[in-house]
């Protein structure tokens, strides 16, 4: 596509496992939106939300240091990531390296063990922020071939996609912390209906839900219940961990609280892939959702 803007892409570990459907659908819609993604060569894990606990603060910081050093070798274009935890770590470390001399020195001393260096001259951006600030909602609308008419979507943003960086200058000032609108804007651009949905940025328990769900099922219940109450057909989210937690624990919630939830949880990029008329499985990866998004799949067939 002519006039495409190139970004260095950090897919993150979930792109090869629990969130392959985010990765596939994002890579499918990106060229339609003039976004060219070039992967960081031989990227590594960012440490997510627990690396520091066992590994220590500087080792955790150095993980992102290596990714940034590798990205910088590929040019000065912005680094883009679609995973909330990857963004939080990579962006956070990048800002520290940029603004704090001591961190820059310590990270570079660690990187020198592998003959790498990084001075902090890149920008690290979340895919959603890029869609809002660089691509724009109008361009998303232009690509819609099959509007998702009649599909009711609860836009669940989660935490780390917007907190703590969405309202900062380095984070692109693209939305608010408590009532972000970008996800509903994506939903509406695809021709679907964004239902009123209060727990937009309520917490799903994050990694605590992964290893200690008993503690956090009530948090996920609130997120699902509000979507069901709003008569949503589907919950949409940008975050890999939110998608996984809110989808895979519905059975456990039903068992614990006597509910009968079975609502699909998809990524915004899956909505876009269907609305752009792309293939339901190869591009939108609808066959990868554990709870089948029936209504969305029907719209894809039309």
């Amino acid at each position: 596509m002519s006039g495409a803007k190139k970004y260095t892409f950090y897919p993150g570990c979930s792109s090869q496992a629990s969130a392959t459907h985010l990765d596939l659908s994002l890579r499918a819609v990106a060229p339609k939106l003039g976004v060219e993604l070039e992967d960081i060569d031989d990227w590594n894990c960012c440490g997510a939300s627990v690396g520091h606990v066992e590994g220590g603060t500087l080792p955790q910081t150095a993980l992102s240091g290596r990714n940034l050093a590798k990205a910088r070798q590929q040019g000065t274009q912005d680094v883009l990531t679609a995973c909330a935890a990857c963004y939080l770590n990579t962006h956070g470390v990048n800002e520290k390296i940029k603004n704090d001399v001591r961190t820059r020195q310590r990270v570079n001393e660690a990187l020198s063990a592998a003959d790498l260096a990084y001075e902090g001259d890149l920008r690290v951006r979340h895919a959603c922020e890029v869609l809002i600030n660089d691509v724009g909602i109008d361009k998303i609308k232009e690509q819609v071939k099959k509007p998702l008419t009649g599909l009711k979507v609860a836009g669940y943003v989660g935490c780390q996609t917007v907190r703590p960086f969405a309202g900062t200058e380095s984070g692109g000032n693209y939305d608010t912390y408590d009532q972000p609108e970008f996800l509903d804007d994506f939903v509406k651009a695809c021709g679907a209906e964004a239902v009123p949905y209060d727990p937009k940025t309520s917490c799903c328990g994050g990694s605590v839900s992964v290893y200690n769900a008993d503690k956090t099922l009530h948090l996920i219940k609130k997120i699902v219940q509000a979507a069901v109450d709003a008569k949503a057909d589907v919950i949409a989210t940008p975050c890999p961990l939110c998608q996984q937690n809110v989808e895979m624990y519905q059975d456990a919630i039903n068992k614990k609280f006597g509910t009968s939830f079975k609502i699909p949880v998809v990524f915004y990029s899956q909505l876009m892939a269907v609305a752009f008329g792309l293939d339901a499985n190869k591009d939108a990866a609808l066959d990868r959702n554990m709870i089948e998004p029936v209504k969305l799949a029907e719209l894809a067939k039309k």
Partner: protein, 204 residues
């Protein structure tokens, strides 16, 4: 758990150097001294009711030098890292980051051997160091069986439907772990970073 409402007695130990240590060694820790005890953090916390001490109280305990009570507090382990407190704190104290720093100290100093978070983190870091990437299958298995063989099997069976759903949706791949070719380089970087931290600690 000792409470701040109880006046200090001779049998309670307060390490008054602890506050200073936190100010100087935990990232963002210097801002704990600015806490005005408004409670915005604890009130904003999605899981505050499960904490023995909310962040507000924990910060007062740091300032009171209650090292032992701080590092054994479940506040550190219940934090879901939602960053509500961080964006709302009127004094711009990076609450979440400070709890992360305390978690690292608690594990390093042996205060939290049985904590699920510590066990999970150990499993996670093992995969990361081996492959340069997280293999969700290996992390999960290592974590389950860190509770012993019997409990490991119980957890594995309990979560089998989820695992099968993941396999069916091609979200759990069945081959060798994905790895970064530079995993050995990454281990060198990690080792160097550990050396730097050890060197700084020994200088005090």
């Amino acid at each position: 758990m000792s409470s701040l409402r109880t006046p200090p007695t001779a049998d309670r130990t307060y390490d008054l150097g602890f506050a200073r240590w936190v100010y100087q060694n935990i990232e963002g820790g210097d801002r704990v001294s600015l806490c005005m005890q408004c409670g915005m953090c604890s009130g904003s916390c999605p899981i505050g009711t499960a904490m023995d001490n909310g962040p507000r109280k924990l910060f007062m305990m740091i300032r009171a030098g209650m090292k032992e009570a701080v590092l054994t507090s479940n506040t550190i382990w219940n934090c879901t890292q939602c960053y509500n407190c961080v964006v709302r704190c009127p004094r711009k104290i990076p609450v979440t980051n400070i709890l992360q720093g305390l978690a690292t100290v608690a594990v390093a100093e042996g205060y939290a051997p049985a904590q699920p978070t510590a066990k999970f983190a150990k499993a996670f870091w093992t995969s990361l160091k081996l492959f340069g990437r997280t293999d969700e299958r290996i992390v999960t298995a290592l974590y389950y069986f860190s509770h012993g063989l019997k409990e490991g099997f119980r957890r594995a069976m309990e979560n089998l439907p989820i695992a099968l759903g993941m396999v069916k949706g091609k979200r759990m791949h069945l081959g060798m772990p994905h790895r970064a070719k530079g995993a050995a380089d990454l281990r060198k970087i990690i080792a160097k970073a550990e050396d730097i931290e050890a060197r700084e600690r020994s200088k005090g």
